[in-house]
């Protein structure tokens, strides 16, 4: 069945608008795991979701632009054993995040560590068993 041009245009437009966010689930190979950069900003959203916890942070790039970084954490069950809770971060609070940047150059990364303004450190894994 031939698709009328206007329909395929609309589909293409929809595909662009609905392009998968960095919040889709993907593997660690999507990040430079042995490289860690540090960002500091204000929490816009904290998502305690399966299978990954997300911290969306608004970062000032120093040139007057604000960029929303999407920092991906481990699953909630694992972070809970590292001391995180569903409300450990609140929108509006300032955090410093050490993360491994994404290979696709988007403003996203895999969390290595989160440090709250009061100095509380949130590791990305529970302490080792031995």
């Amino acid at each position: 069945m031939k698709v009328p041009p206007i329909v395929s245009c609309a589909v293409a437009a929809a595909a662009i608008l609905l392009a998968p966010l960095a919040q889709a689930h993907h593997s660690n190979s999507a990040f430079y795991v042995t490289k860690v950069i540090t960002i500091k900003g204000v929490v816009k959203e904290f998502k305690w979701t399966n299978p990954h916890v997300w911290v969306i942070v608004t970062v000032d790039d120093g040139k007057g632009n604000k960029v929303d970084w999407k920092a991906e954490g481990r699953p909630p069950g694992i972070l809970a054993r590292a001391g995180w809770t569903p409300k450990i971060l609140q929108p509006g609070e300032t955090v410093t995040i050490d993360l491994s940047p994404a290979k696709d150059d988007t403003a996203s990364g895999l969390i290595a560590r989160v440090t709250k303004e009061d100095g509380t450190i949130l590791a990305n894994a529970p302490p080792p068993t031995e």
Binding site: P20, A24, H26, P76, A80, T85, P86, K87
Partner: protein, 254 residues
């Protein structure tokens, strides 16, 4: 000397015959372990017409287009409105509100419909119910522990279940259930929902789960339902469940 040994052996045999059964009797709780299939999981859906006749349906109608059944949970006006919205989207063909289509766990108490098979494992500290549909697991802690604040602050699909034995009946309470699941079908509920169950073997191979759902925000009164499950016959191959691996059916993730 010989007769002394003989009488000692006889005494030992008697003592043995007494001790072993007593030791075994000490374990009085029944064993629910095994693979089961639900009895009449689709309620009023009669399945097909008589064999050979042309089928008139492929599955139960589950979009609410025929209204609320008389034995369904009695919703408050606020939750009735939510239900109508969900029904509209299902009637239109959307799977937006269909958790199992998205490969998500059905949640409590819906998972206890066990539409496909159920696998139960238990010991004195824990009983687990595994649903073949979407490989969903729930655990019931039997060692007397209570949900921690951490568990209460982190609602899940299965919720947090604790139970204890009342003779041959397992009494279970489930709290901390996510608010975005359905009680059954597409009936919504609030985060205040809790589930109470009384589970027992009504025959050696027939397990019964009497479920009571309480939700002061969403339900006008607690809702009750009973699920029964028949234990699979050994040696027929039906006492082995197969993995579901639902996510294969979802288009490539990024």
């Amino acid at each position: 000397m010989k007769s002394q040994v003989r009488s000692q052996v006889r005494a030992a045999r008697i003592a043995f015959a007494l001790v072993v059964p007593l030791a075994l009797l000490a374990q009085t709780t029944p064993d629910f372990s095994g693979v089961y299939y639900p009895v009449n999981p689709f309620g009023n859906f009669r399945g097909g017409p008589p064999a050979g006749a042309r089928p008139t349906a492929s599955a139960p109608l589950a979009d609410g287009s025929t209204g609320r059944g008389p034995d369904e949970p009695l919703l408050t006006p606020e939750y009735m409105a939510k239900w109508k919205e969900i029904s509209k989207s299902l009637v239109a063909g959307s799977s937006e509100y269909d958790l199992t289509a998205k490969c998500l766990p059905p949640g409590m108490p819906a998972v206890m419909s066990m539409f496909y098979g159920m696998e139960v494992m238990h010991d004195k500290d824990k009983i687990t119910f595994f649903s073949e549909l979407n490989d969903a697991m729930r655990r019931v802690y039997l060692d007397g522990r209570k949900p921690s604040q951490k568990a209460l602050d982190d609602p899940t699909y299965a919720g947090y279940s604790t139970g204890h034995w009342e003779r041959d009946t397992l009494v279970v309470d489930t709290v901390a259930i996510r608010g975005d699941t359905f009680i059954e079908g597409i009936t919504p509920h609030s985060e205040a929902m809790t589930v109470h169950e009384r589970i027992r073997l009504i025959e050696p191979t027939l397990l019964e789960d009497r479920i009571t759902v309480s939700d002061p925000k969403a339900l006008k009164k607690p809702w009750e339902t009973v699920k029964t499950y028949r234990k699979a016959k050994p040696g027929t191959g039906t006492d082995e469940l197969r993995e579901f691996a639902c996510a294969e059916g979802i288009a490539d993730a990024k």
